[in-house]
Amino acid sequence: MEAATESIRPFLAIIVSMLAIPLIVASGEKRPNLREAWTLIAATIKAGLVFSMLPAVLAGETFTCRLLEISPGVALELEADPLGMIFAIVASTLWLLTSFYSIGYVRGAGEHKQTRYFASFALCLSATIGISFAANLLTFFVFFETLTLATYPLVLHKETEEAKAGARKYLCYTLPAGLALLTAIAITWGLAGTMDFRAGGILNGSMATTGQLRILFVLFILGVGVKAGLMPIHSWLPAAMVAPTPVSALLHAVAVVKAGVFGVLRVTGFVFGPELLGDLGTGTALAWIAGITLTMASLLAMKQDNLKRRLAYSTVGHLSYIVLGAALINAWSWTGATLHLMFHATMKITLFFCAGAIYVRTHKVNISDMVGIGRQMPFTMTAFAIGSLGLAGIPGINGFVSKWGLASGAVAAEQPIFLGLLVLSGILNAAYFFPIVHQAFFKQNDAFPRLGEASPLMVAPLCVTAALSLLLGVAPNIGIHAWELANLTARAVTGGAI
């Protein structure tokens, strides 16, 4: 088993961006440079703290931090295990990049209430890191709900009728989901007598009847599945795209939706466990839901002309890849799912960054208006091409690696139908992304005004994420040892090895 070390580092990683909030608010609209400095400092420290734990976690250690008890026998407890590390690395790295990008975006687009924007952003990141390091269900729930709430002002940001409707819809989906999760947690505690996440699960078949456990599973999936964008409870996600692009980029491609799929991973792997899921048959049921979602979402994406909405549906589809991996729950599928959690983030955030850069520069939101834009903004559109190729699963880009894991998982689970769905979805991905790239580069559009690239603050981050996608595609184990981390958690959860 892994050795656990008491350390305050996971807690510091959470609290650092929370501490930045009063500083951000105090700096206010009058001193924007100071305000943004606080954001960047907090983001850097956070990423540093997370990365400082990486070597030890790779060596099989975990860091735990037990704070106040908040319910009898249950404390606010944090644990940096390999799965949590994967999510924390994704969130903290991309926050840093998004912070640069945000500064360029909100200034470029002249957004109002920037202080509230940056403050909410910081709170969201605290919550996200909290979710990734939560050691038990109640801690997870506390941060999960905090995230819901901290995102609300960001979705509402533009304060137009459309934004209000989107924010309302967001709450209408996430609040009931939170309550389902709460009920499920309370029941689990009654059954298992513990709320700790344990690789391999804390529930077993002798604790309740099969029917009761199935209902419990449904409650859990309702709770985390809304954020994971599972159909038919996904429709808040396209509606929330009304938010400013960096919000969509970080929150709706990385933090919020990934918190949802991360929750699915925690529930299947750490609460129920592979054995019980197999006995209940709920794993297969969930896999089917994911399979249908990823096909349907790709089909729906094709119909969208608004670029951000198309990306939103693409996100819905790719989240279900991860859910599929969590549901099939064998060593290959789990590796693929956790890798996709990370790799999808780098690719999708690239695409959102591009969409934002195009918007700031040209105020175009519809794909049909973006003909010939590749010549105006070559860096942006090249990055876009890399991201979309990766999402379609072209070898050489990181999306291929994680998809390979998932596909092998489908084979290992002896469910070739899901292999078929994955391949089909890859083709559909290509079908809805390639036309954008094609018309951007290979079609002339003389009516387009000569504008050039957006500010370097925006272009640099998107080039970095595109480069990361390429790098991780060629050498998935480079730098942060993503492959190894994914293997570690897969071995812990499923007991099998690749």
Binding site: S71, P72, V142, E145, T146, K164, L171, L179, A186
Partner: protein, 492 residues
């Protein structure tokens, strides 16, 4: 039981304070507030000291006039009563900070009576909590009620009407309680709570006992505004002055809830409770009350009235906890006494400030206020989130314990209601928040209220968060030792 004069300290201070306030007020009207402040600060110190002593050394007792119980009247303080006393006094103290400017502007003619009555109200409430005698409790019950009617009546032009109705219903409730005590006295020949508790087990199965308990519970439920006896509350809260509402709403109903706990769980023992169907009736009525109160709150267009109906729902949470009567449910109920007192006083202080600053009170007119009164609405937001039950605020944890209690008791429909009611609460609070923050209203001229009011609003808002994060300290250190041994969590 340790003999001590601490238990009578708070009521005596408040009694003296009320008399001095009236006397000094005859000379100088502006003296009323400082005197009340001094009295409440002293009372708060005494009550906290009392709580610490009780936690360290065990229950205290004081015999009034030296007469030994059960003949004489006894003031008995255990963990629970010390806790509730502290809650009452501290919340009142925070509201008092706000009251200085508000009372002077809202009811300038009645400044002296207002502060004197405020102390009489608190005298009655703390007396109810501290006494160990069932009839003495009735007397304090009426003292607090009479002061309450008068305070409510000091508000707007409509206030006397709602105060009068409150008086009729309140007297009816008190009379029911008195009848219950009468029957209990007929049965046991004693009025001392501890004495009655030791006699009652021999009377299990006596039908008169059921009548007595039902009458007492009905009387207390009325004062607690438990559905369906909540009819007096919305009007009384809506028309009273903002300070009166901010004092009465958070603590008056809570003290009645405390007495209900005292009667059902300290005077009655478990075997006896099992023979009387009071618990499940209270639980179900309260669960209905949660739904009715929340739905009515959604239907209101006046913010103060909306909060009043939300009080009906929130008090019903306490009712659910009392009705279920399992260890977790009781923790939920007692914790909710504290958390709801904190968040509701904060919310009413904010509506009061808005009314004083802008004269606005309808839901619609709150548009854009978040921008011009940022501190006030920061407190409001925290309290509102707690009302909805968002972790890690205090409101979340009291509901969490109620849910655990409901699951333990196997009452799934009640669990469902408690959980789903959060959505109703979210419905009316987010509707308001959207208006406050997202609808700009450029012509608006208003500021945060003065420093004192701002301090009290911010302190209550921060308290909601602190109480949530540190809730288990309260549960483990204060609430658990305060409950009867059979109703504690095992292994604590």
């Amino acid at each position: 039981m340790i003999e001590s004069t601490l238990p009578i300290g708070v009521p005596l201070l408040l009694l003296g304070g009320a008399i001095v306030t009236v006397g000094a007020g005859l000379v100088r009207r502006s003296a009323a507030w400082p005197i009340t402040l001094v009295v409440l600060v002293l009372s708060a110190l005494v009550s906290v000291r009392q709580l610490l002593v009780v936690l360290a050394e065990g229950p205290l007792t004081h015999r009034l006039g030296g007469w030994p119980p059960p003949i004489g009247i006894e003031f008995a303080v255990d963990g629970l009563s010390a806790f509730v006393t502290s809650v009452v006094v501290v919340i009142a103290l925070l509201v008092l900070l706000y009251a200085r400017d508000a009372v002077r502007r809202e009811t300038p003619e009645e400044e002296v009576p207002f502060f004197a009555l405020l102390q009489v109200l608190l005298l009655g409430l703390t007396g109810m909590v501290l006494t160990g005698d069932l009839f003495n409790l009735y007397v304090f019950f009426e003292i607090s009620s009479l002061a309450g009617y008068a305070l409510v009546g000091l508000g707007s032009r409509e206030a006397p009407v709602s105060a009068f109705r409150y008086l009729l219903l309140g007297s009816l409730g008190a009379s029911f309680y008195l009848m219950g005590v009468g029957y209990l006295y007929v049965l046991t020949g004693s009025l001392n709570m501890a004495d009655v508790a030791s006699i009652l087990p021999g009377l299990i199965g006596n039908p008169t006992l059921t009548i007595a308990m039902t009458m007492m519970v009905a009387g207390l439920s009325l004062k607690m505004a438990l559905f369906p006896l909540h009819g007096w509350l919305p009007d009384a809260y809506t028309y009273a002055s903002s300070t009166a509402t901010a004092v009465i709403a958070p603590i008056m109903t809570k003290v009645s809830a405390y007495v209900l706990i005292r009667v059902l769980f300290f005077v009655c023992d478990p075997a006896l409770r099992a023979t009387i169907p009071v618990g499940s009736t209270v639980a179900w009525l309260a669960a209905t009350g949660i739904v009715v109160g929340s739905v009515m709150a959604i239907a209101q267009s006046d913010v103060k009235r909306m909060l009043a109906y939300s009080s009906v729902a929130q008090v019903a949470y306490i009712g659910v906890g009392i009705g279920l009567g399992t260890p977790f449910a009781l923790i939920g109920a007692t914790l909710h006494i504290l958390s709801h007192a904190t968040m509701k006083s904060c919310l009413f202080l904010v509506t009061g400030s808005v009314q004083l600053q802008t004269g606005r009170r309808s839901l619609h007119s709150y548009e854009g206020l978040g921008r011009v009164m940022p501190w006030t609405f920061a407190g409001f937001t925290l309290a509102a989130l707690a009302m909805i039950g968002i972790p890690p605020t205090a409101g979340f944890f009291s509901k969490w314990y109620l849910v655990l209690g409901g699951i333990n008791a196997g009452e799934w429909p009640i669990v469902l209601i408690v959980v789903a009611s959060s959505l109703l609460t979210a419905g009316y609070f987010f509707r308001l928040m959207e208006k406050i923050y997202a609808n700009p209203s450029p012509s608006l001229k208003a500021n945060d209220p003065g420093m004192l009011a701002r301090i009290s609003i911010m302190a209550l808002g921060a308290g909601v968060l602190v109480l949530g994060v540190a809730n288990f300290w309260f549960v483990g250190e204060v609430l658990q030792p305060a409950l009867p041994a059979t109703l504690r969590l095992t292994g604590m």
